[in-house]
């Protein structure tokens, strides 16, 4: 334990023929992503307050919350269209109100709820108020999409600059497929889609890119090293060589996120579950999507291009 490793995630010298499964990988991915797109339209995302606008108030009561009484108090306070639901433990309640017609109306509604609850329910305490006006919510949504789009473009540009265009296109297409699946996951689980989820998706993008770059980096190195090996075998070799690292890193990130999903509390555990999903998707897509795309795009072109331009490294020449 203290000197020698106890165990390996995968044995050395694995020789899986990943590229044999390339069609299957792409087909499964296409099906999942199509299903996700359908889920995105029906039932659609469960938009959180950041993007839908409106009011959310978290209320804590002494002992288990009496929903009947809370609804009654709100009705008595002339607050229409409210939704009351349990949030986390049984003494915590979430009250939602839709977007009010004016910004001033939003403020009025917040004070009305406050007055209605604190007046009539013993020991009720409002521990959180989120009120987002219509103008701000559409702006937040636009900024979220913008961050996502620009991130993808920057990743495309960076990989293009450091590798070849086939790598960049392969990575970005895979990332888009990853993102659609994550959105499908969000639609399916009804986890609220808010600003924090944009952060989660961007983190998944970052992690997934990271994973792809490591495999691509090995492909690039092997392209210089083995000049006559068919691209298909070369990609298989590269994935096998990096398999321990791929599994290792996904395990550590997974392990680091897991406690957050379990102990993180109602407001952050959704984020953690999405991260866990994204880690699984991002890791498998490096092998089953990004690599096959590279194979399709690069089969004819990549070999000649790279070898002609770059001289082999002295260290690589000595290899068998």
């Amino acid at each position: 334990m203290f000197i020698r490793p106890r165990m390996r995630l995968a044995p050395d010298n694995t020789n899986f023929k990943f590229m044999n499964g390339r069609i299957a990988g792409l087909v499964v991915s296409a099906i999942l992503s199509t299903a996700s797109v359908i889920l995105f339209f029906t039932p659609g995302l469960n938009l959180g307050i950041d993007f839908s606008g409106g009011i959310v108030m978290e209320v804590r009561t002494e002992g288990p919350a009496d929903f009947q009484k809370i609804r009654g108090a709100l009705v008595d306070g002339h607050i229409p269209d409210q939704g009351v639901q349990r949030f986390g433990d049984e003494s915590t309640v979430l009250i939602r109100l839709p977007t009010q017609p004016t910004e001033a109306g939003t403020q009025v509604a917040v004070s009305k709820v406050r007055a209605a609850l604190e007046g009539s329910i013993q020991g009720a305490k409002i521990v959180r108020v989120d009120a987002v006006g219509a103008s701000v919510s559409s702006e937040l949504f636009r900024n979220g999409l913008l961050a996502l789009g620009i991130s993808l473009l920057m990743i495309l540009a960076y990989i293009w600059f450091r590798f070849e265009w086939q790598f960049a296109v392969g990575a970005v297409v895979t990332l888009i497929l990853d993102v659609t699946k994550t959105i499908g996951f969000l639609a399916l689980t009804r986890i609220e889609f808010d600003l924090v989820m944009v952060a989660a998706i961007l983190t998944i993008l970052g992690y997934s890119t990271n994973d792809k770059v490591v495999v691509y980096d090995r492909v690039r190195e092997n392209l210089r090293k083995y000049k006559v090996m068919p691209l298909r075998d070369l990609i298989d070799l590269s994935i096998n060589e990096t398999l321990n690292r791929t599994l290792g890193t996904s395990m550590t990130v997974f392990l680091a996120s897991l406690p957050l999903a379990i102990f993180g509390g109602a407001s952050i555990s959704g984020f953690a579950w999405v991260m866990l999903f994204g880690i699984v998707v991002g890791t498998s897509s490096s092998i089953f999507i990004a690599a096959p795309i590279l194979l399709f795009l690069g089969e004819k072109r990549l070999r000649r291009d790279t070898v002609a331009v770059e001289a082999p490294e002295p260290g690589a020449a000595r290899q068998p």
Binding site: L9, R114, A131, M154, A199, D217, R245, S257, L258
Partner: protein, 523 residues
């Protein structure tokens, strides 16, 4: 793998410095003169209220156009230039003037020329005056002037908001500009921001004007020129008030709530500056036995009769106040008027107990995640895993140090960011370890395997981190609030993990190699 003493000392120096810089987070400052930078807890962790307020730019422009209309009227009067239309067109940012006699267009243009002011660093004119042969003159506010006016209005609003909030005794409020027309107000420890919202919801522009006693405000007829009908604050009955402002609230130097000695009623006592005091004395002297109105934001607070000239430069407002409302009005008057109304467009308030819960949940998750990663690395990489674990701890300390130096704000998503960074930081070590193992299995002797392992892994680490780094910089630029905190922790984490993986791990491994000289690396 060789490190000169200087380089080794520098690496260890950075680690120690990081430890030193992160120490203030554990203790309160021993003395006020010591630089004591710490990580700040975000409002979602310590509880408090975040208000995003929008300055009503339409009102700013309207006021400018209205005053232009006044100025134009005054400018045309001496030359006896008559007009059919003189109106402000708010949606076009201009005022339109149609002369009765088109032949006087040139004379009108000359008379209006002095209205143009020069603004901004380029001394650009703020008005664009265009005439057409049919006697129509338009005066359009230039975009430069609009922009200058808008940013001046926001700046001024921030100042007034700060003064008003300071009066309420909130500790450590943060008031910053966001975008062109918004103000972010952060109020730590405030669970119910209602009172503050009320204080900020009034422009509190106070004016002293004469009451027009000849007009009947409640007859349903339109007000005569130069007069407007305003509601009384109490009861809402209308009263006819002259538009001309005799003394402006800007001339007040002080306002305090107090009680009237005779009636025991709550009042606001105020003092004018010398200019205001003189004008108030002149007005009251000339209008004894007439009424004047104290108008606050288009509501008449009171309209007393002037019994005798008030020359002392101070006065008293009574208007059915309670202790609270008198105090609030005094605060508003002391702080000054906002240049335009403010509306709350986003509010996020978190109670301290929820914040404490979040801290607890975050801390438990952090500890558990940290232990998981450490156990994983020890189990799967042995000694080299422990090197990675040591680096991980240093990495945490360096992150804390960087965040303290930047006085960054730690939010709940930020804590999630730290956790993810823990997972991602060991990626660099995993890459290095796997590479060294591979090189050794290809038959390289230990030193060469280490040499090549680090060399090759470094290129990969750089490329894979650069892409992540870029996407989080984007998140920082476009994100807001707690999400920004998340982006900050991850970007800092990437930077520090590159340092620990590339410098510290290599130093540790090289020291170990020199002292042990193993025949075979235990990777």
């Amino acid at each position: 793998m060789y490190f000169s003493r200087l380089k080794a000392a520098a690496i260890l120096g950075v680690c120690l410095l990081g430890l030193l810089v992160s120490l203030p987070n554990l203790f309160p400052a021993p003395a006020s003169w010591m630089p004591w930078r710490t990580v700040h807890l975000g409002l979602d962790l310590k509880g408090g209220s975040y208000l995003l307020m929008e300055v009503d730019m339409k009102a700013v422009i309207k006021e400018r156009l209205d005053s232009l209309v006044d100025a134009a009227r005054q400018a045309l009067r001496p030359g006896a230039i008559f007009y059919q239309i003189l109106e402000a067109q708010l949606d076009q940012n201009r005022i339109v003037l149609r002369l009765r006699d088109p032949a006087k267009t040139d004379a009108a243009m000359t008379a209006l020329a002095p209205l143009v002011q020069r603004e901004g660093p380029n001394n650009a004119p703020d008005l664009d005056i265009v005439s057409s042969p049919d006697g129509t003159i338009t005066m359009t506010l230039s975009p430069v002037a609009l922009h200058a006016r808008a940013s001046a209005a926001v700046q001024q609003s921030i100042e007034i908001v700060r003064r008003r909030i300071d009066e309420t005794g909130v500790v450590d409020p943060q008031i910053t500009q966001q975008g062109d027309s918004r103000i972010v107000v952060q109020l730590p420890g405030i669970e119910d921001p209602n009172r503050i919202k009320q204080l900020l919801g009034k422009t509190a522009h106070m004016t002293f004007r004469l009451v027009d006693e000849t007009a009947n405000a409640n007859a349903g007829t339109p007000p005569p020129p130069g007069v407007e009908f305003l509601p009384m604050q109490e009861g809402g009955a209308k009263i006819a008030v002259r538009k001309r402002v005799d003394v402006d609230g800007a001339d007040l130097t002080d306002a305090r709530a107090g009680t009237n000695g005779q009636t025991g009623e709550w009042v606001v006592n105020f003092k004018f500056n010398s200019n205001g005091g003189r004008r108030f004395a002149d007005i009251t002297r000339a209008n004894v036995n007439h009424r004047f109105a104290i108008v606050l934001d288009d509501n008449v607070i009171s309209a007393p009769s002037i019994r005798e000239p008030i020359t002392g430069g101070s006065g008293q407002i009574s208007g059915g106040f309670t202790a609270n409302s008198a105090n609030d009005l005094a605060v508003l008057l002391r702080a000054g008027a906002l240049p335009a109304p403010l509306t709350v467009v986003e509010e996020r308030t978190i109670g301290p107990e929820l914040g404490a819960d979040s801290i607890r949940a975050g801390a438990i998750s952090l500890l558990a995640g940290f232990l998981f990663v450490i156990a994983f690395m020890a189990f799967f990489y042995g000694l080299f895993g422990w090197f990675a674990n040591l680096c991980l701890i240093v990495n945490l300390i360096l992150m804390l140090a960087m965040m303290s130096l930047l006085e960054a704000t730690l939010t709940l998503p930020g804590m999630a960011g730290i956790l993810l960074t823990l997972g991602m930081a060991v990626d660099a070590n995993i890459l290095i370890n796997e590479r060294i193992r591979e090189e050794q299995r290809r038959g390289r002797p230990p030193l060469a395997a280490l040499e090549h392992g680090f060399q090759r892994a470094y290129a990969t680490i750089f490329d894979s981190n650069a892409a992540t780094f870029l996407s989080h910089v984007m998140l920082f630029v476009f994100g807001s609030g707690p999400v920004k905190g998340f982006a900050v922790t991850i970007t800092i984490g990437i930077a520090t993990s590159m340092f620990t993986a590339w410098m510290l791990t290599r130093l540790l491994v090289s020291q170990w190699y020199v002292s042990v000289r193993p025949k075979l690396l235990p990777v």
